[in-house]
Amino acid sequence: MEVTGQEYKKMNDQTTPRSPILRNCVIAFLVGGLICAIGQVITGWVVKLGLGLDDARLIGSSVLIAASAILTAFDVYDNIAKHAGAGTLVPITGFANSIVAPAIEYKREGLVLGLAAKMFSIAGPVLVYGITASVIYGIILNLVTLFR
């Protein structure tokens, strides 16, 4: 008997194993939390050294970005991310990884059309929609305060 497309989709759904969502969420929660806690510790430490909170926060983020870039270059970050999933993707370290990884990969195609152009192939959409969203939010906030 011939199988129809719809029947096959059902067969496929029954045969295909699901991603272990609960396990992935727990690991992501723990790793993501750990990365943010490390950022917090660095920030607190810098404040103790006598810098203002704003500067300390900036340094905290920068250290995490640098660490992520270095771990990416040494072929470590992707091996952590394989288990951590969203835990390493969502914090600022994931954003750094998404820029450094294509920069390394496409360097072979040249510094301009390879490294520089492909650098934002993953992070680009985040920037486009992130900036657009913040502009829209800014306009709304402005309108709200105007009529208050």
Binding site: M1, E2, V3, G5, Y8, K9, M11, N12, T15, T16, P17, R18, S19, P20, N24, T72, A73, D75, Y77, D78, I80, A81, K82, A84, G85, T88, L89, G94, N97, S98, V100, A101, P102, I104, E105, Y106, R108, I122
Partner: protein, 327 residues
């Protein structure tokens, strides 16, 4: 049916580190611990794999490149650059092939048909894939921290080459079945086994009907790279068509890696998967007399990053070569 008895005169498979660590590792003619093969790019590394496989297959057959009338070669890269750049120095007439991961069966079938028809005395079939060149073209940069779903498969780093001519001893290509494009609407590029299984089912059914045979008549029925999910689905599809695939059925993607230890999820894939398994394990066992009658069906997913991004489903194709050990 090929009555002229085209025979495999020589064959060779070369592979990367991970494949070498797999269960079939000892069967490969060369294992490259450094998967760059000393080249500056992954694409060049893949070209080098093709050269290595071709040269070793020629040596085993005891013939020189100038004796080869036609080369049939392919890979997964855009415009098949691994093949064309890898084989340009030999000066042999070449017909580049693209059949996605079905390319090994496609090239072997064409080589056999050319020899069988008398259009050529000796032809070569060469196919490769490389995990790193495939990842950068189809997915993400290597260092990108992504998570692979359980259905995803691991592209094999390796190349296989087979030299086909007349009058050798060993293994002959008895029949070939060219498949048609089958599309059941699967669009998940992380589940290619499911996209290709219907094509394998169609080709196998056509072959069994044409030859009035049944699965139990063969020592081994082996698909190219359906992986765990795809081969499970193929069993279900074949059962519906009235053909029960028994213990003599397996998939190259399932046997090339140790799935419990090697972190390859649903198994191996890529045109190097069926190429390396054919040109080491299968032909080796046939030559040793352990297997006599083998159905080799390589499966391909005919999509590109463009078609996938545009939301198109994944058409599948499968080509079959029936191999018989010469008594």
């Amino acid at each position: 049916m090929l009555s002229g008895r085209p025979t495999i005169l020589g064959y060779s498979a070369v592979a990367g580190k991970r494949e070498g660590e797999g269960p079939l590792g000892r069967g490969f003619d060369m294992i490259f611990e450094d998967t760059t093969l000393g080249e500056k790019s992954w694409e060049k590394a893949e070209s080098a794999l093709q050269r290595e496989a071709f040269t070793r297959a020629l040596n085993k057959a005891g013939i020189s490149p100038s004796q080869v009338n036609y080369l049939f070669a392919g890979d997964l890269l855009n415009q098949s650059i691994a093949s064309t750049f890898g084989l340009r120095e030999y000066g042999v007439p070449m017909l580049g092939q693209f059949g996605a991961c079905s390319t090994m069966a496609q090239t072997l079938a064409l080589a056999a048909i050319f020899v069988d028809s008398g259009a050529a005395d000796i032809c070569a079939a060469i196919t490769s894939s490389h995990f790193c060149s495939a990842e950068r073209q189809f997915r993400f940069p290597l260092e990108y921290g992504g998570q692979r779903p359980p259905t995803s498969q691991w592209t094999v780093t390796g190349a296989g080459a087979a030299i086909v001519g007349l009058g050798g001893s060993g293994v002959r290509v008895a029949d070939v079945t060219v498949g048609y494009i089958t599309d059941f609407g699967i669009s998940d590029t992380n589940n290619m086994g499911a996209a290709m299984a219907p094509a394998a089912a169609e080709t196998l059914t056509a072959f069994f009907k044409d030859t009035s045979s049944k699965p139990d008549d063969y020592d081994l029925i082996i698909t190219g790279d359906l992986g765990a999910i795809g081969s499970d689905l193929l069993r279900q599809l074949m059962e519906r068509k009235g053909y029960r695939l028994g213990a003599n059925y397996t998939d190259c993607g399932l046997i090339i890696y140790d799935r419990s230890k090697q972190d390859v999820h649903a198994g191996g894939s890529g045109c190097g998967c069926s190429a390396t398994v054919l040109c080491s394990y299968i032909l080796g066992k046939m030559e040793a007399g352990e297997l006599k009658n083998v159905v080799f069906v390589a499966t391909g997913a005919l999509m590109s990053p463009t078609s996938s991004q545009q939301g198109e489903s994944i058409p599948g194709i499968a080509h079959l070569c029936h191999l018989v050990a010469i008594e």
